[in-house]
Symmetry: C2
């Protein structure tokens, strides 16, 4: 017989795979002797068993749950479903990785029409008892039966309005009985049956609802965003209730051992008197700072601080805790390693190294490399900020500067984003349904809720700016307008947010890029010691190259030479080159392009100051350089050519599947003169800069879209011939390296062949992914959503490397390439080069470098260090 | 020291790799004691050495050539370059595989201003001597120096016109001296140097020219057409000259031991009195039938017949021979296995089996499977033919019926073909420059030349119709008009040719498909005994399915269900389905489509009568079903919808790279209702036909473009669910099989995973090739020519399977699939399924079947037998 249920006494912190994070930590805290209400955990394995058994909880599992419930009754000296002294429980999800707000919770379970009387009598607090029952009906109906909470809120508001009340706490016990009756009526009307009175039935349905919540769309979306596999499942924690809603000596709160926004070492959190947990998280009432507790309940506060310190020392990490005070007695309901902004993560890691709590290696591993992205986001241009109109201030919930057009719901925000608009999402408060909207938004602004409200937690996780609790907002959803004092902002107008200060400005304030200093610089220097791979950048402009070097790039891994062709005076020459009627005309245009290209390369060589620069030969199909249909007439005039003729030529260049068309080295084979021009420009630039600066330069030139050794050989011959001409002309030789992209499956399969002529391989994982899947990146959006919803893909393979399919090709090519040439230098360029899990994969394969966009260089440096630390640890454990 | 040169006495027929076909056979004949002029062969290895040494003949090779020349002088008792008794030689190419007319030949080499006098004196035939020198200057200048022959012909015509001559033979020896002097002047004017007088220089340049001819564009094109590798090289044969141009007791000819057009057992050929070899092949003078030789020179004819019989018995195959008669003495200059039409190949193979000359296995191997295509080409509809206007009759040079628009040169023909026109190429005579034009033409018609003229040989090889020597043609290239009697045909007008009768008709005569009978049926029945793989067909219509069954298909391997959607009343429903604004509208359209689909499948099941039918679910991107831009307004009206709205919807369906877009199983995942409809239609049709006919049917359903096990699982679940509904409704179950296309590299790489849910794999080699190479079939034509010219590709990978890259994926998937499921049934569909070399490859891999278009079924049956015979032979030899 499998063990599906563990009492808190039976578990510990190492069992999170089985018990989920919440369950494992409740067990750990129980065994540390902390004040934890008794309870037990149904394992993640039970959840997966539920899905495998066609969504049925097996008799074996139900048996163990009932047994655990009996034990719990004994410990609490209460009886589940008893009319005099009922045991009430909370039912909460708890996955292996924390997924805050993603899944479902039910409180006060076990109440019914009879036991609520017993509870009222026993606690001598009828108002509390009826409030609890009211909450339970509302939560159970929402979470288990799908009858949404706002509908109950409407029932409640009617009653409040009738009585002339503003706040919930004005409701008397009599009023609450009325509310309960109305709720039950409403339940029956909508669901066609009575609200379930049997606590065992309540429990079964609640557990099932938590299991099911693992596969709700929010949870699937969150998993994809956070790389959590779909087959982990969630555990369910059944815990004896303690009540923060018993009156003025009761309350509930959440707190962090250090500041999760800045990392400052100071207890940080909020609590509400006379409330249950969901009131804090939902952000409906604005709670008090945790420091106020010292005045409200000094003894409890002292005990709280001491337990918080115990927990941080025990876990060696910043803790995020939930607690409840029932009639002056403190209980802990949860602890976990706290989510934090990237800024806080760096600060806490550095502090803890300085405090001797963790070592440098541990500090490196502590930072979520992806999250550094937040710090590398732009900040407001200070001058622009000085002239900006401040229109409101809220809570600084997630740092970063953001400017965009306001939209008042997630749907409109997403549509605007698809129209390529920058978006600020403005809501009264956010709920899990808003996650996708928040994800595509530059920033989120809410009227209600504190620093630990849903909006704040989620925005920090995403690294987007967020200002919360901005009371000044008056949102008119009908008119699609928000008013802040005398400022009226229509949907679609620009505002700017500073998530680090909580300030809201009118208009579209210019932003400026971030720099690398302080803690980030310190962590980077640690990471550099541990990583094995070098980090290059994809840069085509001097500005990009400068930024990348500032961020620690050790070379340019991919200079897309065609990007240089789009500047104004160049595009006309490239068009003339493409549309030339004969070789002579083409050569004329190429001669002029040569001068431009040479200048471009000289600029890059100067900035890179001897670091490697890998230039890829012209790659895109030529029609990409042509004007859209409407402007061909203009072009014809400019070229002094017949319009019809140019039109026919442009049409002839169109392709059915341009991704697989006349591009890459195919261009160099049909128009060798273009490759000659580029080769000459590269080498002339290198020699001239080398002579002028005295810095040794070794140009690297990369041939794209190679399928076949003979292609590479052909293009290489052209390059070498041109190089020799240049050497002869300047009477000077430079070392150089000629390599190839591996970006078609065929090249990867036959890498040993191709290695005969290549000095290096650069895996073009964008194209390689497209071809391996037969999936066009530009068209995939039409169906990827269905794939996520149906649990077919967990991730976008263009964001996160497909290690099974594409990865197999990379591994294979690595082996074959090395078999032929032990010295072969290999790396990846493309989106995956800056994505931590992909970096971990290619580090394990053995590649020598990754190349990514300048802003991702710090992420790559850290991820490469983490990857190598993991690899060595795994090797040791073998 | 390598041996680079072999005298004819040193070689034999098995040495064709080294000596080329011509050299090996000359050696064999020499050793058989036949009358062969002495000579020697420079090996193919020497040719490849020449290319490797930057186009230089090494000293070692030249040394061996000079030594062989000395031996030849001794045998002939003549001296190379001697003024009294000069040795003259022919220099001819000879590759391992016969490439008629593809490469170069020089006759009479060794003549110069002085030796021509000696030759005149010694032969006492000055006219012959000067004629030989004239020919030599002309040929050498053309072949070696690139000064084209027609330019010399012009010089000649001027002299002939001045003298009032019509024919060459009217020229006297004096006249010929004048011609020679003019030729030499013309040579000097154009090339800036004197015509080379040193015979050793002549020889070196001639050998070099033959080597170089291996890589001329014609040869490269021919090799690609005939799957001949580029690294074989050509041998060079140096042979002592014998002269057919010594007068009326001299002559030259070519002959076949059996009729190469029909296979009839009867000596067949042509000769010209007083001529050299090139006169026959070039087709300028119309030669006499070989049977006339019996009257002209009875003794020679008797000897000729006896040698021809000896050769056929020796080689066990029909021989194609060249001979020369010098002053009444017969010499053989070449023998080889004769090229023949497919019809002749079948006839000869059957005859030889009946004669006991070869066994059945050998007969199977004798037929070029690709060539069967000719027999399976349409013939004229007899009724239409009866009403057609016969405008001329020529020689029936290559069988088959062809109708198309006339074009008068290869360039115009190719352009018309690109405009999707059917083309008939009409020429005075064809030359190797016309090959590409002939290849794309339905048929070729020439004014001059006999059954062995260039046009005839090439057309037979290609299996296209050809009518030669149609004297009635008067071609005005200036006016672009041809006149046949009183009929004037402009370029672009329609004519029709019957290559089996030599008849030329006015207009575009309807053709009808061929049938399988006689020798073809006999060979097919032999092939069926030897093949291991089964042969299925790609058929979407009842007509196709019927044809395929008639041709021996053992099932449908690929029914592209979407092809059924294009018929008139269906396309509107599919458009409604695609553009539906909601699920209800979509379902309505689907309900109507269901009825159509069901009828379609019932038709196929009835025709196939229990043979397997594999239906592929809807595959192409939906926008393929939408009307082109102009007709959207019409569609909107028809659908009673707002035009702008429909336009936006149509636009939204456009894709950047449709090949890698929203298609294949991705459609079934986003619109499961379509897959449901198809599954239901398939199973309902199968049950109804099964019940009605009593024939057991096991539907096979194939999921396209699968990348990932979960995709297949998702779609399979839908199919199985629908099948179960149908079974319940009809209260009857059928066995069925659900499989998948393997057409993305990812599917091939992870075939073991995918095999978990698939009962069969069908390799979609069209898509697999596109994705493995990153090469769009529709766009590749833009650069493939450059690839051939630069010797990067030898074949179009869409015509002939890339066994290195794509083949590796197939091998891999075969192994992985079988590892998971030993019973897994695997085949290929797509173009390669009917291509013999691809069939050989997949047979060796171990696949169970190929599926090809109906007209290729007989080719596939034969190729599969040949493949298995080869595989077993190779296994035995191991």
């Amino acid at each position: 017989m499998n063990k599906w249920v563990y009492s808190f006494e039976e578990g510990n912190a190492t069992m999170r795979e089985l018990l989920g994070g919440k369950g494992a930590n409740l067990a750990e805290m129980t065994n540390l002797g902390l004040p934890i209400p008794h309870g037990f955990t149904i394992t993640t394995a039970a959840c997966m068993d539920y899905f495998k058994s066609n969504e049925k909880i097996s008799d074996e599992i139900m048996g163990q749950i009932k047994k655990a419930l009996k034990d719990l009754e004994a410990k609490q000296e209460k009886k589940f479903g008893d009319n005099e002294n009922p045991l009430l429980v909370s039912v909460r999800s708890g996955a292996r990785a924390s997924m805050p707000g993603m899944m479902d919770t039910i409180l006060n379970l076990g109440l019914n029409d009879k036991s609520v009387l017993g509870l009222a009598k026993r606690t001598n607090n009828p108002r509390f008892a009826y409030d609890s029952y009211r909450r339970f009906i509302q939560m159970f109906s929402d979470v288990v039966m799908g009858l949404e909470k706002p509908k109950f809120e409407k029932v409640l508001s009617v009653i409040k309005a009738n009585k002339g009340y503003t706040y919930d706490y004005e409701l008397t016990d009599k009023d609450l009985i009325e509310v309960i009756n109305k709720y039950k009526e409403f339940y029956k009307e909508n669901l066609g049956s009575e609200f379930p009175q049997d606590p065992e039935e309540q429990l079964y349905l609640a557990i099932e609802a938590v299991f099911k919540s693992w596969n709700n769309p929010r949870a699937i979306y969150y998993r994809r965003l956070n790389d959590i596999p779909g087959d982990w499942g969630t555990a369910v924690n059944i815990q004896s209730m303690v009540f923060g809603n018993m009156g003025e000596t009761s309350g509930t709160g959440v707190a962090f051992t250090r500041n999760p926004a800045t990392g400052e070492k100071q207890i940080y959190g909020e609590y509400l008197i006379n409330a249950q947990g969901e009131d804090v998280v939902a952000g409906i009432r604005t709670p008090s700072q945790i420091s106020r507790l010292e005045y409200d309940m000094p003894e409890v506060y002292k005990q709280f601080l001491s337990i918080a310190e115990t927990l941080e020392n025990h876990y060696h990490d910043m803790q995020d805790m939930e607690f409840t005070i029932e009639n002056g007695k403190l209980y802990f309901l949860q602890t976990r390693n706290g989510k934090r902004t990237a800024q806080a993560a760096l600060e806490i890691a550095c502090q803890m190294v300085d405090e001797g709590m963790i070592d440098v290696k541990e500090a490196i591993m502590r930072i979520d490399a992806k999250s550094l992205d937040q710090l590398l986001h732009p900040k407001f241009n200070e001058e622009a900020l000085n002239n900006a109109k401040l229109i409101a201030t809220g809570l600084p919930a997630s740092p970063g500067a953001a400017a965009g057009r306001v939209y008042f719901d997630a749907e409109s925000a997403k549509k605007a984003h698809k129209r390529k608009q920058r978006v600020i999402l403005v809501r009264n408060e956010t709920s899990p349904e808003d996650i996708e909207g928040m994800h595509i938004a530059e920033g989120t602004l809410t009227q209600n809720g504190g620093m630990t409200s849903h909006a704040a937690v989620v925005a920090r996780g995403m690294g987007t700016a967020c200002v919360c609790g901005c009371k000044a907002i008056d949102l008119d959803m009908e008119a699609r307008v928000m008013t802040l004092g005398d400022v009226v902002i229509k949907e679609g107008d620009f505002i700017s947010l500073d998530g680090a200060t909580g300030k809201v400005y009118l208009g579209d304030i210019e932003t400026k890029p971030a720099t690398l200093d302080g803690n980030l610089e310190r962590i980077m220097s640690w990471a550099d010691k541990y990583r094995r791979m070098s980090i290059r950048t994809n840069a085509d402009t001097i500005a990009d190259a400068k930024k990348a070097v500032e961020f620690g790039a050790e070379g340019i891994g991919l200079c897309r030479s065609e990007h240089m062709f789009f500047k104004n005076e160049r595009i006309i020459e490239i068009r003339k080159m493409i549309l030339a009627s004969n070789k002579e005309q083409r050569q004329e245009a190429l001669d002029r392009l040569l001068l431009f290209q040479k200048e471009d390369y000289k600029g890059l060589y100067e900035v890179m100051n001897g670091l490697p620069v890998t230039v890829r030969l012209l790659d895109p199909p030529l029609h990409e350089f042509l004007p859209k249909d409407g402007n061909i007439r203009e072009l014809a005039v400019e070229m002094n050519r017949d319009y019809e003729e140019v039109l026919v030529q442009c049409d002839a260049l169109k392709e059915f599947n341009p991704m697989m068309g006349h591009r890459g080295c195919r261009l160099a084979i049909t128009f060798p003169e273009i490759a000659r021009m580029q080769a000459r420009a590269i080498m002339e630039a290198a020699i001239e800069v080398s002579v002028a600066t005295g810095v040794e330069i070794e140009p690297e030139i990369m041939v794209p879209l190679v399928d076949e050794l003979k292609e590479l050989k052909f293009v290489k011959n052209i390059i070498v011939e041109e190089f020799e001409h240049v050497f002869a002309y300047y009477n000077k030789r430079l070392n150089y390296h000629i390599g190839t992209m591996i970006e078609t499956p065929r090249a990867a399969l036959l890498a040993d062949e191709i290695a005969k002529e290549a000095e290096f391989f650069s895996f073009g994982t964008n194209d390689l992914t497209q071809l391996t899947f037969g999936l066009s990146r530009d068209d995939a959006s039409k169906f990827l959503d269905s794939y996520y919803q149906n649990d077919i893909y967990e991730n976008d393979p263009f964001a996160k490397l497909d290690t099974e399919g594409v990865g197999l090709l990379i591994k294979n090519a690595y082996k074959l390439g090395h078999k032929k040439n032990k010295e072969m230098h290999m790396g990846i360029c493309g989106e995956h080069g800056g994505e931590p899990s992909s970096i971990e994969f290619v580090n394990a394969v053995g590649l020598d470098y990754v190349s990514c966009s300048p802003f991702r260089v710090p992420i790559a440096r850290l991820a490469a260090a983490q990857a190598e630390i993991k690899r060595l640890a795994a090797k040791e454990n073998k």
